[in-house]
């Protein structure tokens, strides 16, 4: 287990986001260090996904700044969208994403990754025939391939059955234990707070809470 600490992989300083003239949030500041899970909580429409897109460099802040110190090659994004191409096999999907990340994985390495997520028998099957759980496991294999130092999770458990969800939680804490900094938007804040180190709760277009997860008391809110 790698202890948390060290220089922040990600720093957000007084960030704000407007869409047109509409304020989504303002004055958001936080940091993510290696081996730390930051859980982003808040009701629907609070701007959690917008904040994550900003943290991941997919969108610019309207004010303030986002500083990413993790190497782009070692930064991964796992969302509820699976990023798979249904018309390609699991192996071809993984090979394509490897190339996009500047890697040249051999077939054996790809098969090893698929074995790790329990998809070795489906390696040559078209991903379009996969269940939601299988598709998300293929997506997880993509994340393993990158060996991320910083991982963004945008409700990756959406639509998963309880068994797959439990597996996903185990993998997320596994990443943290290996020193990966994790930013996590979860549907299940009540359960997932226990796995997190810090919580950032958005609400009313501002930060309602930012601090240790053990001191966070979520209100009855639909996240």
């Amino acid at each position: 287990m790698v202890p948390s600490g060290g220089e922040a992989l990600l720093s957000v300083r007084r960030a704000a986001k407007f869409y047109g003239g509409k304020l989504v949030f303002k004055d958001v500041s936080c940091e993510v260090r290696p081996g730390e899970i930051l859980l982003v909580a808040g009701p629907n429409g609070a701007g959690k996904s917008t904040l994550m897109r900003m943290m991941a460099g997919l969108s610019r802040p309207s004010a303030g700044e986002v500083i990413l110190r993790a190497e782009p090659e070692r930064t991964a994004y796992l969302g509820h969208a699976t990023f798979i191409y249904p018309g390609m096999t699991a192996l071809a999907n993984l090979g394509f994403w490897g190339t996009m990340y500047g890697l040249s994985p051999s077939r054996d390495e790809l098969v090893t990754l698929l074995t790790r997520v329990g998809l070795e028998r489906a390696a040559e099957e078209k991903a379009g025939s996969f269940s939601r759980g299988m598709a998300q496991r293929l997506n997880l294999a993509r994340v393993y391939m990158v060996r991320p130092t910083l991982l963004f999770l945008d409700e990756p458990g959406t639509g998963l059955d309880p068994r797959s969800l439990a597996l996903l939680r185990r993998e997320i804490t596994g990443f943290r234990d290996h020193g990966t900094g994790v930013v996590w938007i979860s549907h299940h804040v009540d359960k997932d707070t226990a796995l997190a180190d810090t919580v950032l709760a958005l609400g009313g277009r501002r930060v309602e809470y930012f601090g240790p997860a053990r001191e966070y008391a979520p209100e009855a809110e639909a996240c």
Binding site: T82, M88, M100, G102
Partner: protein, 225 residues
């Protein structure tokens, strides 16, 4: 970047051909257009080389819209665009990859349109073959440069077919005009002037919109304001 562009193009070609949508639709629509225009030919009459060139490039332009709608729809199925944007791959690799795939698919459809133009519209190639090939490749580069840029603009839009058509066709006018005139020179048994200025127009068009694409594509593809 070239390796990533090649991977993107190979993936797009594989999915587009196996999916049987963009290319098949483009070829069928183009053939239908050429056949329907052939019915306007009076009995015993001929279609002028200029008109034949116009019909060929009209079929190509419609094919272009279908091809690029299909190519950019590939990333929409499971949110793969976010995956690409969050990867370290430069966004220009997407533009080059989509452009290469689109160029291959457009050339394949034109390989069908060309004999169809000869058969249905009664045309022969009298002019130099190099001119025909240079026009085809030069004008196609202009078409795919615009197609790859504006295909990204229309992604995720419910009315993407109409949006793409409305924006693309006016922009394509100069390169289509040059293509039509140069094809008319190739189809005509009589000399119809020098092709240099029209080839120059195609080159200038390609260079201008390649520059615009390089600059604009990252903004258009990421959807960032």
């Amino acid at each position: 970047m070239l390796k990533r562009s090649a991977a993107m193009a190979a993936k797009d070609l594989r999915l587009s051909i196996s999916g049987g949508q963009g290319l098949v639709q483009a070829v069928l629509l183009g053939l239908l257009l050429i056949f329907l225009f052939s019915l306007s030919k009076p009995l015993g009459g001929v279609i002028t080389p200029q008109a034949a060139g116009a019909i060929f490039w009209l079929a190509s332009a419609f094919g272009l819209v279908l091809v690029f709608n299909d190519l950019f729809a590939i990333e929409e199925a499971n949110g793969a665009r976010v995956g690409i944007l969050s990867s370290p791959a430069p966004v220009h690799a997407v533009w080059v990859g989509k452009g290469l795939a689109g160029l291959c698919l457009l050339l394949v459809s034109q390989l069908v349109f060309l004999p169809a133009t000869a058969a249905f519209l009664g045309q022969n190639v009298y002019g130099p073959w190099w001119l025909l090939l240079a026009t085809l490749i030069g004008a196609d580069i202009g078409l795919v440069v615009i197609g790859a840029l504006l295909g990204a603009l229309s992604q995720g839009q419910a009315a993407r077919e109409s949006l793409l058509s409305v924006i693309v066709f006016p922009l394509l006018l100069p390169v289509l005009l040059a293509g039509i005139t140069l094809f008319a020179m190739c189809f005509s048994p009589e000399p119809m002037g020098e092709p240099d200025s029209w080839l120059g127009l195609i080159l200038a068009f390609d260079a201008l919109f390649a520059g615009a694409g390089l600059f604009l594509f990252p903004f258009v593809y990421s959807g960032e304001e």
